[in-house]
């Protein structure tokens, strides 16, 4: 049974155009998948479907053999942690409290238990948020907020992590630390699916690329196959330059 199985997933917003048109993919083990594609290609919608927040109009989206949308939410959230692009900026809680929301799927008791606090400590350490732990979430910068949300998802301890542009507001140092962390997560058995527009970082760090174009999976494979400049130029309509070193790592730049 595969970890994640998408079969001909089709989705359309009410009174809108079809956003996903028969996306199929199988994911069997821990890996880092970078989902790329132009704006409006359906990337966030696909994450929402895997997170069970939307139901496919046709086709199926199964997590460990069970339909994501049909599963009880708490149960699904123990398997899948979804980090949206943003949450309301005025959330009045502290960083620790935000991170602890990741423990909700494990119990509806009124207070967190020692296990919950241990998970929080671990998540804060892995995202290097010690200095911010008592700060109010609303007072943080965009990049810090993203790290806090990622920490909350880690605190959820689910094997599948869905990240919607986790690096959008990060500076180069945090950006590279983020991808390093995603690599560590793969090593510790996680499946990470990250939507990103940082093609160069995706090329260097991801195990697998999902290239979404206009609701279809235009390419699915390792960076050296999926990120061919000819293909990318068709999809993104800018010139790409590609270089692969002796170790097989791909370096990608774009523009004139």
């Amino acid at each position: 049974m595969s970890l994640l199985s998408l079969r001909e997933v089709t989705f359309r917003y009410r009174e809108g155009a079809t956003v996903l048109k028969g996306v199929s993919a199988e994911v069997d083990g821990p890996q880092v998948i970078a989902m790329i594609g132009p704006n409006g290609a359906g990337k966030s919608t696909l994450l929402d479907l895997i997170a069970g927040q939307k139901a496919p109009e046709a086709g199926s989206c199964d997590v460990m053999g069970r339909s994501a949308h049909a599963m009880p939410r708490a149960e699904l959230c123990r398997m899948v942690a979804h980090v949206p692009q943003q949450v309301p900026a005025d959330v009045p809680f502290t960083v620790e409290e935000v991170v602890l929301t990741g423990r909700i799927p494990y119990g509806r008791g009124l207070y967190e238990n020692t296990e919950d606090y241990a998970a929080m400590e671990d998540a804060i350490a892995r995202t290097r948020l010690e200095a911010f732990r008592r700060r109010r979430f609303a007072s943080l910068s965009g990049g810090e907020k993203q790290r806090v949300l990622l920490a909350a998802a880690l605190c959820q301890q689910s094997p599948i992590l869905l990240l919607d542009e986790p690096g959008a507001h990060l500076d180069p140092q945090n950006q590279s630390q983020l991808w390093e962390l995603l690599g560590e997560l793969r090593t510790s058995g996680h499946l990470v699916i990250a939507v990103t527009h940082h093609l160069a970082l995706a090329a260097q760090n991801a195990d697998r690329i999902w290239l979404l174009e206009n609701g279809r999976l235009a390419a699915d494979g390792p960076p050296c196959e999926a990120l061919r400049p000819s293909r990318l130029e068709e999809v993104f309509r800018v010139p790409f330059h590609w270089h692969q070193n002796e170790q097989g790592r791909v370096f990608l730049t774009y523009g004139q």
Binding site: P88, R108, Y111
Partner: protein, 327 residues
């Protein structure tokens, strides 16, 4: 460690709120326009003992229950609407309840405007508003602005219908309606109090149990759903709970404004945004607040009594303005 922090603070907040509420309940019955003769009270002799037991104590308990329900309902609506200004009133729930109650008062034969009938009508009115909201929610996403705009519309419609009923009703009925619409805490029979608490207390305990989930709702639907919460279900249950609290209270006391707004807001500044602290404080604090307002209402201009709705509105109106300016 943080875990003990929160539990410790929760204990303190609960203890202080309980003490505050208990002190208010214990002291306020003894304050009043016509001074009690304490010697008579101690000897359990008329008329003072009777005034205390049959008038002042039930009135205080009614104020406590109504205040707790309105304030807890206000905190609940602020949580599920993710809006600091959300209350049962500006969602139209209070207006629906009022319309139900006024309909019964206007059309019931004779002077029978007693509790059970008005109660059922008020609940139906509140329930009707919830049904409208639910129908809207099925056709579109629950967005705060949609709901608040719906609330404004529902409020307007209900207020117009109340006016219509009012103008159609005869002099006697019209007076009853006016009196009821002013909102007031009257001495009620103990049976009514028992019935009220049988409804309000369990719902309040449900609110306390939901407080951790209510925290997560304030992060928005996407985040909450990603933490395993079925937002739509919780929101609907919240609306039903709010309708029960507000409908029940309104049936007995008439519309009392601003309690659901002021109390949770003041307490939010004192205990913070965590509903595990804010909810118990709001419930107990709301009860105490309405007792105090009622005591003011019946003492300041004694022997004339000001309707308690006037006192809460005069305290709450300026507070609302200040809140809007400082936000």
């Amino acid at each position: 460690m943080a875990s003990n922090d929160l539990r410790g603070r929760a204990r303190w907040v609960l203890a202080l709120s309980l003490v505050g509420a208990a002190v208010t309940v214990a002291i306020c019955p003894f304050l009043g326009g016509s001074g009690l003769d304490y010697a008579n009270v101690l000897r359990r002799e008329a008329p003072d003992w009777a005034i205390l037991v049959n008038l002042r104590v039930p009135r205080t308990l009614l104020a406590f229950l109504a205040g707790a329900a309105l304030s807890g309902g206000g905190a609940l609506f602020q949580a599920i609407m993710r809006d600091a200004l959300a209350t049962p009133s500006n969602l139209g729930v209070s207006a629906g309840a009022a319309l139900g109650a006024v309909t019964v008062i206007a059309f019931s034969s004779g002077g029978d405007t007693r509790f059970p009938l008005v109660w059922i009508a008020a609940l139906m009115g509140a329930g009707l508003v919830i049904a409208v909201v639910k129908a809207l929610g099925r056709s579109m996403r629950f967005s705060t602005s949609t709901l608040l705009l719906t609330g404004i519309a529902v409020n307007g419609i209900c207020a117009a219908l109340v006016l219509l009923l009012h103008s159609l009703a005869g002099i006697t009925k019209s007076f009853q309606i006016t009196h009821w619409l002013m909102g007031g805490i009257d001495a009620v029979e103990y049976a009514v109090l028992i019935l009220l608490s049988a409804v309000i207390v369990p719902v309040c305990f449900w609110l306390l149990r939901m407080s951790r989930v209510l925290n997560v709702i304030s992060y928005g639907e996407t985040w909450a759903e990603g933490r395993g919460i079925d937002c739509r279900r919780i929101t609907m249950r919240g609306f039903v709970a709010g309708a029960v609290l507000v409908g029940t209270t309104t049936a007995v006391t008439g519309p009392i404004s601003f309690v659901g707004l002021i109390v949770p807001h003041l307490l939010r500044r004192l205990v913070g945004p965590d509903y595990r602290l804010l909810m118990p404080a709001s419930i107990l604090g709301g009860g105490a607040f309405l007792i105090i307002c009622d005591t003011i209402s019946r003492t300041v201009l004694a022997p004339v009594e000001i309707p308690v709705g006037v006192t809460t509105a005069l305290l709450g109106g300026p507070f609302l303005v200040w809140l809007l300016w400082s936000r």
